[in-house]
């Protein structure tokens, strides 16, 4: 019993020391979160490596029949509202709330179906509920899992500056882009 506690404590020490990374980012940057993410192209996504471009972020889940199509439409409408030349200069990051079911493959399939395979689109899923909840908590996104596999969640689009600091957010999701969000993105591209 002692040994078990011991080993788990040691494991905890090793794991928790990795929560934070990249000390050069501002202290309120989302990109400091140390969480493993895998993209729809089955590549590892390093959050600090996303610095340099403004981010448009939302969270969703693949097996979602209700709000998520609205979220995808909304985030697409926001990107489409930008002049074509500006679209390449942002990253639109969509992170799964459901690491239990969503995989790089399922995200890739969804991205392809929606015509969102290439840049600026970046779908990603983390390795655990714990890491997923850390990102959601940082973004102010609330969610809970139901026993039938559905996930209740708040729908939100977030804009960050080039260093991952939140500068705007909107819960006005629909088929049209929220002008405030588009303006916030463009302000970051000046």
């Amino acid at each position: 019993m002692k040994i078990t506690r011991f080993a788990s404590l040691l494991a905890g020490l090793l794991v928790s020391s990795q929560l934070l990374a990249a000390p050069t980012l501002p202290t309120d940057s989302l990109l400091q979160l140390k969480m493993p993410l895998t993209s729809q192209r089955n590549e590892a996504v390093e959050l600090p490596a996303l610095a340099g471009k403004p981010l448009l972020i939302t969270m969703f889940y693949g097996n979602c029949k209700t709000a998520c199509p609205v979220i995808l439409h909304s985030v697409k409408a926001t990107v489409d509202a930008l002049p074509a030349a500006q679209r390449e200069r942002i990253t639109a990051l969509l992170v799964s709330l459901d690491p239990e079911h969503d995989t790089a493959q399922s995200l890739g399939h969804m991205a392809h179906e929606q015509g969102m395979s290439a840049a600026p689109w970046l779908f990603a899923v983390s390795d655990s509920d714990t890491h997923t909840r850390q990102l959601a908590a940082s973004l102010g996104i609330r969610y809970r899992k139901l026993e039938n596999g559905e996930i209740n969640h708040s729908s939100k689009l977030i804009v960050t500056d080039r260093q991952g600091r939140i500068v705007a957010s909107s819960d006005k999701l629909g088929n049209k882009a929220d002008p405030a969000i588009v303006a916030a993105l463009q302000a970051q591209l000046k």
Partner: protein, 268 residues
């Protein structure tokens, strides 16, 4: 590529920093549970789990920030802890006049989660906490007893002045102490405790930013003490800290036969 001596050092560090006598994890049986925050209006299923018998104290948190300086006041990124993080301590590594054996408060959800990880644990989920807190000294579920409810409610009526009491009071049927009457506690899924039906209702979606009104859409409006906690937790952000908000940790019941926990490391 770790040198054996390094590993030995880590083991020694772990030995020295083993939490004091208070950090026992006691089994709490799960089962079907009627939550004040029901999911689909049905009882929830809670798997058996282990719960830290006492809240984490100032002394234990002090040991933690000594081992992991990135969690010291002044060093922790503002993304993970707000400006009042550990603001009641004398300095970044010492509580000073604050008693060592009272619950640590002024800690963010991120910091609480990191502490639990350092004990090979996690924060309890809301339904786990609520199930454990439904017991009194004799009964697994004392919630229908008006006398028990009244006793718990009295805490909320007292003004929050003076020092918190030392941990170890009011052990319940499972041996868990201090669930009522001292502090609010973080739970792992604090950002899942909103009351709306689902995100189809966005636009008029109420994510319960303030206390009060939303309690009416909860299940058990007699149990006002629990509703206060739900309202409180659901209004918080992960970086928030409060003078009345602390935490304890939980663990999954280990799979049998109990094996040494694997040392999980990522290659970097």
């Amino acid at each position: 590529m770790r040198h054996p001596l390094y590993l030995l050092g880590g083991l020694l560090l772990a030995l020295i920093s083993l939490p004091g006598h208070g950090a026992d994890y006691l089994p709490v049986p799960g089962g079907r549970f009627r939550s004040a925050l029901p999911v689909d209006d049905k009882p929830v299923t809670v798997a058996p789990f282990l719960l830290r018998s006492q809240p984490v104290t100032n002394a234990e948190f002090q040991a933690f920030v000594s081992r992991q300086p990135q969690w010291q006041r002044g060093k922790v990124p503002s993304l993970l802890a707000g400006g009042s993080y550990l603001s009641h301590w004398a300095d970044p590594v010492r509580p000073g006049d604050i008693a060592p054996n009272i619950p640590v408060t002024h800690v963010s959800w991120f910091a609480a989660s990191a502490f639990c990880e350092s004990e090979g644990a996690r924060l309890p989920r809301w339904h786990e906490w609520e199930l454990a807190a439904a017991a009194d000294a004799q009964r697994a579920d004392a919630r229908q007893d008006p006398a028990w409810r009244a006793r718990i409610l009295r805490w909320y009526e007292r003004p929050a002045t003076g020092s918190l009491p030392p941990v170890g009071r009011d052990a319940n049927l499972w041996g868990i102490t201090d669930l009522h009457g001292a502090i609010y506690e973080w739970v792992e899924d604090f950002n899942g405790l909103f009351v709306t039906v689902d995100s189809r209702s966005q636009g008029e979606q109420k994510t319960l930013e303030t206390c009060g009104a939303a309690a009416l859409s909860l299940d058990d409006r007699e149990n006002y003490a629990i509703l206060m906690r739900i309202a409180m937790l659901s209004a918080l952000a992960g970086r928030d800290t409060l003078s009345t908000l602390g935490f304890r940790c939980a663990r999954d019941v280990p799979a049998t036969p109990p094996a040494a926990a694997p040392i999980k490391r990522e290659t970097s």
